[in-house]
Subunit: 467 residues, 2 copies
């Protein structure tokens, strides 16, 4: 609650100009800039975490065979993939699970001997957990395009000995998965027990089944989509716009200068809004004000300002501040764009450069069971959807190569970024394509898109049961 | 659909660095900056529309009695309110309707003789229309804090002869309404036939009933709220952050330099996302690509870029570009903040400086009929809500002064900024406060928050029927 000063009598007036306005929330950007400038000049080197890679905390697979790319006439000449593993590969090499990450995650999904710090899916990986290391060999990579050890825009271009920056080619989700399968080849894994992912990782999980249906035993797709919606494109576009407008971004060429930390902070604030839900904020923050500075007494008047007053604002501010130097701006832009471009409807797939599609496995025409009528998978327990989107048949056609792969789809009703409508769409398209082994769970709760990081009981339970 | 160039054979490689990346979406900001700089130096004067007020197109009420302010110890010494009217005031002066605007609108709700251009609610105002000028005298003002003729941050501070800029005091919705009632006093209107508003205007409409229940005959609240939710605060905070981070903003002191046009564009892009709905974009844009430049042939390869590819992106870009020089950045910040601060729960109201609350009309304790049990308004046709928010009793207590005012509440199911839950909350709180003349309509459709600007048939019909 604000505690306002007493009203002055009308006769008493003040010049509003007598107090110089201050904006700590804006000054924070300049303060960060000064700090970065002084650190950059120090022997310890620059601050951004991604500028100090630690190749002893993960393993690096260096590929020297060029990687064909979806949107480029020319292949990537060579590339690195950083990865970590948990559990042991069986002698038959048939117990591997490829775990795909969300946009900004590293390969560090859980603690390891080499890196004992907590991973982003710590509670889901281990003996008896959702990804059970007593049974499975879990592999997680930093994606191609990322900044945590895998080749991306911040990597050195061998042709110029300088960072690629925005000379880096536009990537697709398929390119990322293709690079991961090169790693699997290197590890001697012919067939995955499962391909598992959440958010962007769910896109990759589906893409893995599409590129190599014969190499993927099961698919887990959590809070993902097979076709990015215009509203999710809008949300990511807003973030990219803000970031690219930061003068420090400098068309992507900032690696020998200060990074666009303010743009990154602002972009992350927008992203954070899409990761949770209004009902969570109602319960968690309501209309509470931010805590007072410790030197303010309980009787000090407290009037509103143009900078943050409410706890929800300081929460967003904090999330942005935490992130703005932890991730490479160009990686964010490239990977965010790859998500926008993801579309598994048949016409969209047909237009792409997908070298794997040269063989027997093409979209509809060569689906494992393309001759069966499209409706057979809809039984009494799974009737055809009542109000399907117009693109559902095209999506079913695109997903036809996945018709024989048992698939778990899990969605969250409070997710505003990857809505339940999109989850149901994937399920309906798979069933329409003839897949009669689709399991679908829809979770309640208020955690929105981030549910996959938080709900160990329900998300973890569904995965463990399915695998 | 993208049309990709043919894949080059693997042996053939290219240096990615051979092409210099270009970013037209970022260059647009610099281009705009240059254009503004050259126009500012020309005799025609600066470009921003609000810098060229046209006082012949509206009427200005100049108040010389100081205006007490909710969050300031000191009153505003004098102020202007720009307004326009439609229809004729009856000899008894009992047919006036005060129409409140959304955040960025001017007083020009419909065309007039003085300004024949189309107004923002053109189709809703006129003979036989929702606001029927055959019966009613409609008054619409630019709000206090705005930049279209009413006093706001861009106005000249009489104490300094320079624009207030961020010396301007933080405003509340109640302050805006208080200034409007000064205008009504000036016009000789003791009692309004109705107070009508959408979005922020709906907040003002409710606030008018609270400040002066004896002067408001009916209330219309469309897509508004009586208590801003943390998720709407988050959305507006993201916009203010982006805007205030623009170096041109300069702590609000930009009136003798170039305005923060890039920050305004980015802020408007974010706002636009909240004004419509995902389902609308699914239907309107889907995954269509932006049109090709006219000189591109149908066979030219078309590869994705980091700047906009999809129609939804160019739509947001266009909305931002259109707006960025039409509205004053400081007005946006102040009015956006006033919306965040709006909270009609009793404890929040009790903490404010509300001079009007000195008299008989206080929140619950002096409600017209505070002695009647709180549940009486819930009849068989309006049972008590099954899962009310925890703050509902406090909101009912705050809205008690409105217990005798017939009120129309209208909400839209696809509105993500002012959700239907918030509309139902207003309705439930009014009924709980003992108001048995609450009419509630909930509209479907895909237009989201902007429905009030677009749906003449349903929104207009409900208003006409109610008035």
């Amino acid at each position: 609650m604000f505690r306002l000063p007493r009203l002055a009598p009308f006769a008493c007036r003040r010049q509003f100009s007598s107090v110089t306005p201050r904006f700590p929330c804006v000054e924070a950007h300049a303060t960060r800039e000064s700090r970065l400038a002084s650190v950059a000049a120090s022997p310890a080197g620059p601050e951004p975490a991604y500028a100090r890679p630690n190749p002893t905390s993960y393993t690096t697979f260096h590929a020297t065979t060029p990687l064909p790319l979806t949107y480029s006439q020319y292949p990537l000449p060579s590339f690195d993939i950083a990865y970590e593993t948990w559990g042991s590969l069986s002698p038959a090499k048939d117990n591997a699970i490829l775990l795909h990450t969300g946009l900004s995650a590293s390969s560090h999904a859980a603690s390891t001997a080499a890196n004992p710090s907590e991973g982003w899916w710590e509670k889901f990986i281990g003996p008896g957990k959702a990804l059970d290391t007593n049974k499975f060999f879990i592999v997680c990579t930093n994606v191609l395009g990322g900044c945590y050890g895998s080749t991306g825009p911040s990597s050195i271009d061998p042709d110029t000995n300088a960072p690629y920056a925005t000379h880096f080619p536009v990537l697709s989700i398929f390119d990322m998965v293709r690079a991961q399968f090169r790693l699997l080849d290197h590890l001697g894994v012919d067939k995955l027990h499962a391909s598992v992912g959440s958010s962007m990782g769910a896109m990759q999980s589906l893409a893995a089944g599409w590129l190599h249906p014969e190499r993927v035993g099961k698919i887990v797709s959590i809070s993902g989509t097979a076709r990015s919606s215009p509203s999710s494109v809008a949300m990511r576009y807003a973030q990219r716009s803000v970031l690219m407008a930061d003068p420090n971004w400098n068309n992507g060429f900032y690696y020998d200068a200060l990074p666009p930390h303010t743009g990154m902070k602002l972009a992350r604030q927008i992203a954070t809004i899409t990761y949770r839900s209004g009902p969570e904020w109602d319960a968690r923050f309501g209309r509470q004000l931010r805590p007072l500075l410790s030197d303010a007494s309980a009787s000090t008047p407290r009037t509103p300002a143009l900078c943050p007053d409410f706890l929800i604002e300081t929460y967003l501010d904090h999330q942005g501040e935490q992130f703005c130097l932890r991730y490479d701006a160009n990686s964010l832009i490239y990977i965010s764009k790859a998500m926008d471009l993801f579309d598994m409807t048949a016409p969209a797939l047909d237009a792409l450069h997908i070298p794997e599609a040269n063989g027997a496995v093409l979209s509809a025409s060569a689906a494992p069971d393309a001759t069966r009528p499209h409706v057979t998978s809809h039984s009494k327990s799974h009737p055809p959807p009542t109000n399907p989107p117009a693109h559902l048949p095209a999506l079913a056609q695109g997903l036809a190569p996945l018709a024989k792969i048992p698939t778990l789809v899990l969605g969250v009703q409070s997710d505003i970024l990857f809505t339940v409508e999109q989850q149901r769409e994937v399920v309906d398209a798979l069933r329409l394509a003839g897949n009669d082994s689709v399991v679908y769970y829809e979770l309640g709760g208020v955690w929105g898109h981030d549910t996959f990081l938080l709900d160990v009981l329900n998300v973890g339970g569904a995965i463990r049961g399915f695998l």
